[in-house]
């Protein structure tokens, strides 16, 4: 198992804390968190799913935006570790999907087809409520070490704090407003990805990278830029004229 270097971990939390400013973008933040999870933990893909209004889990951020990986997250509306973690309120792992599908035949087949052998899901909890899950995939079989599990839990806690923005959410209503906003932002980002992919003849993951880089380069919020793309605002004309290169 790869051990996490303390310095790297500290750097990550400093970086995450830095993004938690008044004007931060929740999807961008969760995306960063998913990307860092893959760097800090012995996993090959990470995603953050939130519980939608009617109890369904929806992906809001992932370490990469390949269409097939997104499908794997989406499958978990019906079965898989995230749904189980959501219902049991506890971490769920399948250490080798080749030997045991853990009761998720469709999900296990899809994960194996994508080259993943083990999968983990950690519930995101706010007091008594489960609001989502961090989903980790690895190409190798095996469980997460105790240290790695601690890191993963810390990432989950930071994700929860970032998501809820306010330090203490006293009212359930505010939680619902925040969750709905995050889920809705993700839909706008998907719409913008489609628009950019078509205009610039890119794949969806490349379109996301272009969108994100443009937002970063202009110090703008990802979800605001996405909204401007689909409403064809003048402010994003340069994105199509001089698309940010990789």
């Amino acid at each position: 198992m790869v051990q996490v270097a303390d310095g790297q971990l500290v750097d990550t939390f400093v970086e995450l804390a830095d993004t938690l400013t008044d004007d931060f973008d929740v999807i961008d933040f969760l995306h960063l968190l998913a990307a860092r999870s893959v760097e800090l933990l012995p996993v090959d893909a990470a995603g953050i799913l939130l519980a939608g209004p009617s109890g369904a889990l929806q992906l809001v951020a992932s370490s990469d935006e390949h269409v097939r990986l997104l499908e794997l997250f989406q499958l978990q509306r019906d079965e898989g570790p995230c749904l189980d973690a959501f219902h049991t309120r506890n971490p769920v792992s399948a250490t080798d999907l080749e030997l045991d599908d853990a009761g998720w035949p469709s999900f296990a087949a899809a994960a194996l087809g994508h080259g993943f052998r083990s999968v983990h899901a950690l519930p995101m909890r706010l007091r008594s409520e489960v609001i989502g899950a961090l989903n980790l995939f690895s190409a190798r079989p095996g469980e997460l070490s105790k240290e790695n599990l601690q890191v993963a839990r810390a990432m989950v806690d930071v994700a929860t704090i970032g998501l809820l923005q306010a330090r203490t959410i006293q009212q359930h209503e505010v939680l619902v407003e925040q969750l709905q906003t995050a889920l809705s932002s993700r839909v706008v980002i998907e719409q913008a990805k489609g628009f950019i992919a078509e205009r610039l003849n890119l794949e969806m993951d490349e379109a996301f990278a272009v969108l994100r880089r443009f937002a970063r380069n202009h110090s703008r919020k990802l979800s605001v830029v996405a909204a401007e793309v689909v409403s064809r605002s003048e402010t994003v004309r340069d994105l199509f004229r001089n698309p940010p290169t990789r």
């Binding site: 269409v67 989406q74 407003e177």
Partner: protein
């Protein structure tokens, strides 16, 4: 139309609300409508009334259903004073849930609207935007006379009713009147990606692109998510002048 066939995902606030309104409509030998959704929500959520506003253009909405006079009064009030929770919800793109208009902060948020709402006899209002990303379909509003917030469990049910209202309004736009099952295509990322792609292909607004996608899915009797997958995987292109390639 698609149904959620899976046993585990079938027991959600959404599927329960859907079964409830279908059963109620069945008893009346009728079908589920926006009005029947409102009536069911009012009874189930324990609110005094409901109002559904549909978007008629950027920044404009009109009342489609109001279950009581107060619902209409509140809608008119917002137009009159130019502020209020419905307008705020549209601007924010997120729910606005007010458990008590008299509570600290609410009169600062809506200095004109809050006291007038209380004067009209309404202390709590729960506003849920009906939208798919940037596609703005309308708003659903529930109100209570007493200053009582929606309990967490009922809030989940209120969101489920709102989602059903959204689905029904979307179906109406393309002339679908079936109420056999709940179409969960809106949960598919590819549907939203395809909407963006079609907007670029046809050079139309996002809501028109979304309508074009749904109309075609309906015409071909295919699930929206299937058609969206074809668009995203470049097996299908929408061409201006109504053609496709």
């Amino acid at each position: 139309m698609e149904a959620s066939q899976d046993g585990r995902s079938d027991d959600t606030p959404l599927s329960r609300a859907w079964r409830r309104v279908k059963d109620e409509a069945h008893l009346l030998r009728s079908t589920v409508t926006v009005a029947s959704l409102c009536e069911s929500a009012v009874a189930w959520l324990g609110v005094a009334g409901a109002c559904v506003l549909v978007s008629t253009g950027p920044g404009s909405q009109e009342v489609r259903v109001a279950t009581d006079d107060l619902a209409s009064v509140l809608a008119e009030l917002e137009v009159m004073v130019g502020e209020g929770p419905v307008r705020s919800a549209r601007e924010l793109g997120s729910p606005v849930l007010v458990g008590d208009f008299d509570a600290a902060g609410q009169s600062r948020r809506w200095p004109l609207y809050a006291p007038l709402a209380v004067q009209a006899g309404v202390h709590a209002q729960f506003v849920l935007p009906l939208r798919v990303g940037l596609v703005d379909v309308g708003t659903v509003v529930y109100h209570r006379k007493a200053p009582v917030p929606l309990e967490p469990v009922l809030l989940a049910d209120a969101l489920a009713y709102a989602e059903l209202t959204l689905l029904l309004l979307l179906d109406e736009q393309v002339g679908v009147a079936g109420d056999e099952s709940v179409d969960l295509s809106l949960r598919s990322a590819q549907v939203h990606q395809a909407t963006g792609m079609v907007a670029a292909q046809l050079d139309v607004r996002l809501d028109d692109a979304f309508a074009a996608l749904r109309a075609r899915a309906f015409a071909e009797q295919r699930p929206l998510s299937d058609l969206a997958a074809d668009v995203v995987n470049k097996r299908l292109r929408f061409e201006p002048e109504g053609g496709t390639r």
